[in-house]
């Protein structure tokens, strides 16, 4: 975070700050190319060129063809378009869908809505570390299964799913695979040119791009029923005038991510290790998710005897998350952590530290100190349980 901030921001999984180069690019586009790219005149063509450049930048990050990308307002819309669009278009072949209990609400709630519309959903349980066993997936696939949706990097625990193996299992059964890549794209190498993935959702603001813009990748030949009608833009899949400045920002953020992913992962790995070493001596502390092999930008820890809401307040000025960041005002224990076998209290006490490009070792040191002090304070305040 910039010097002088009165807080320590360790909530990069919720959102990342706009990269200054991205902001510059967006300002330039706003002042010189903020026209309708669908217009058939010189101004429109200038905007269309900006969109084409951004598509090329994003396509390069994902190793796909630029015309395989559809611009959306973010991952939530991409998830909705992919899941609803695929389920509805293929409903005449079968109405069975598969996903995990540990998906983000932007996926879970779409499947719940489809259940109300007559689709049958299998909710797969994770292994204790949050990963999905290929055997668990294959056992759930049926002749009438049309779509599987699995997130690549879990937003709460950082567990990385084996998309190559899971996708191969789907391909064998001719089932579409949608991947929610909101926490993966721009953060870990994602090669959709080689992964067996049919649909992939992503959003710009998770990798230092602007909020309000995302994309959906569709593999060649994958068809969807649109959610909206009117205008006919983007092969009629997602009509509406494109937000050229936001799209330019997403493209620029993708280009920066492509250049810095390797360095980011090394930086985040060192910081996560520092954080883990600093916290692991606290009595009763457990790690939610895998210790090794997880996305290094996320570390989720919990305690069996500390109340989560008080812990969050006692940690100020540390900005971290309890449960799902998109749902952080909820008092409900995290469904993800409950699926990993945590009790309600353990789940409510969970703190997700998510680190980013600007995080420093000094901030991690301060975070460790704040966490230790907060836990000590709350333990001293707590009366013994009744015998």
């Amino acid at each position: 975070m910039p010097a002088g901030e009165d807080f320590i921001y360790l909530d990069y999984a919720a959102t990342t700050p706009l990269h200054p180069v991205v902001a510059e690019r967006m300002q330039a586009v706003q002042s010189t190319a903020g026209f309708n790219p669908a217009s058939n005149h010189v101004a429109g063509r200038r905007s269309a060129a900006v969109v084409e450049q951004a598509a090329a930048q994003l396509a390069a990050l994902l190793n796909v063809a630029p015309d395989s990308l559809v611009w959306t307002s973010g991952a939530t819309e991409s998830n909705n378009l992919a899941i609803q669009g695929a389920a509805r278009l293929r409903a005449h072949r079968g109405k069975h869908l598969v996903t995990m209990q540990t998906e983000h609400k932007a996926v879970v709630d779409v499947f719940k809505a489809l259940e109300k519309q007559g689709f049958e959903v299998s909710w797969l349980a994770p292994n204790p570390d949050g990963s999905l066993a290929v055997t668990t997936l294959t056992a759930a696939l049926r002749d009438d299964t049309q779509l599987v949706s699995i997130m690549q990097v879990n937003n709460e625990t950082g567990v990385i799913q084996d998309i190559a193996a899971l996708g191969a299992a789907c391909r064998e059964r001719n089932v579409l695979l949608h991947v929610d890549g909101a926490q993966a794209a721009g953060k870990i190498p994602v090669d959709l040119g080689s992964l067996p993935v049919d649909l992939y959702s992503l959003t710009a603001h998770k990798f230092y791009g602007p909020k309000g813009v995302g994309a959906l990748f569709l593999s060649k030949g994958t068809a969807l029923e649109p959610l909206m009608y009117g205008g006919g833009q983007q092969q009629r899949l997602r009509p509406g005038t494109l937000a050229v400045d936001l799209i330019a920002g997403m493209g620029e953020a993708a280009a920066i991510a492509g250049r810095s992913i390797d360095a980011d992962l090394i930086h985040l790995g060192a910081l996560r290790n520092q954080l883990l070493q600093g916290l692991r001596n606290i009595e009763g502390l457990h790690i939610n998710g895998p210790v090794d092999g997880a996305y290094p930008g996320i570390l989720n820890v919990g305690l069996p005897d500390v109340e989560g809401e008080s812990l969050l307040l006692a940690l100020e000025p540390l900005c971290v998350a309890t449960g799902s960041a998109c749902n952080s005002r909820s008092q409900e224990p995290s469904a993800v952590l409950r699926a990993l076998g945590r009790t309600d209290i353990e789940a409510q006490s969970a703190i997700r530290f998510s680190l980013g490009r600007a995080t420093t070792s000094m901030e991690i040191e301060r975070a460790i100190s704040l966490y230790q002090d907060a836990v000590l304070k709350l333990r001293e305040l707590a009366p013994e349980r009744a015998a």
Partner: protein, 129 residues
């Protein structure tokens, strides 16, 4: 609206719970309640009908901790008989406790009632001695 779920009083009492702890000794009156996913322990030392020392321990959200601290600040040094005037609804207004947490403040009210009974029992047994 600034989106802060805690008003300045809650923040102050949570940050500096001056009455956190326990009154020790055989003459301490103690009450404990566990409900609504939270625990509260109140302990008091009473001399000549007045509450000389009042302490709390609490496991719960910031509103519960602040409410326990507010209770102690309000009644320490006051006649024990005034515990009957404890007003949970006034406390909720002072601390801007969200309505969905009403049950938690009522647990504090139950604990206060229990403390009152413990003080009366102690006074009765001391009078009999």
């Amino acid at each position: 609206m600034n989106g802060d779920p805690y008003n300045p009083v809650v923040r102050d009492y949570f940050a500096r719970p001056e009455h956190a702890g326990e009154v020790m000794g055989e003459d301490a009156a103690v009450a404990f309640f566990e409900d609504q996913g939270m625990r509260i322990r109140l302990s008091a030392k009473v001399a000549r009908e007045d509450i000389k020392t009042l302490r709390f321990l609490a496991w719960g959200c910031p509103h519960v901790i602040a409410a326990a601290e507010a209770f102690c600040r309000r009644f320490e040094g006051r006649p024990a008989a005034e515990l009957a005037n404890f007003d949970a609804s006034q406390l909720m207004r002072d601390l801007a406790v969200p309505v969905e947490k009403t049950g938690r403040i009522l647990v504090l009210e139950d604990t206060v009632r229990s403390l009152r009974a413990a003080i009366q029992d102690r006074n009765t047994s001391q009078a009999q001695d």
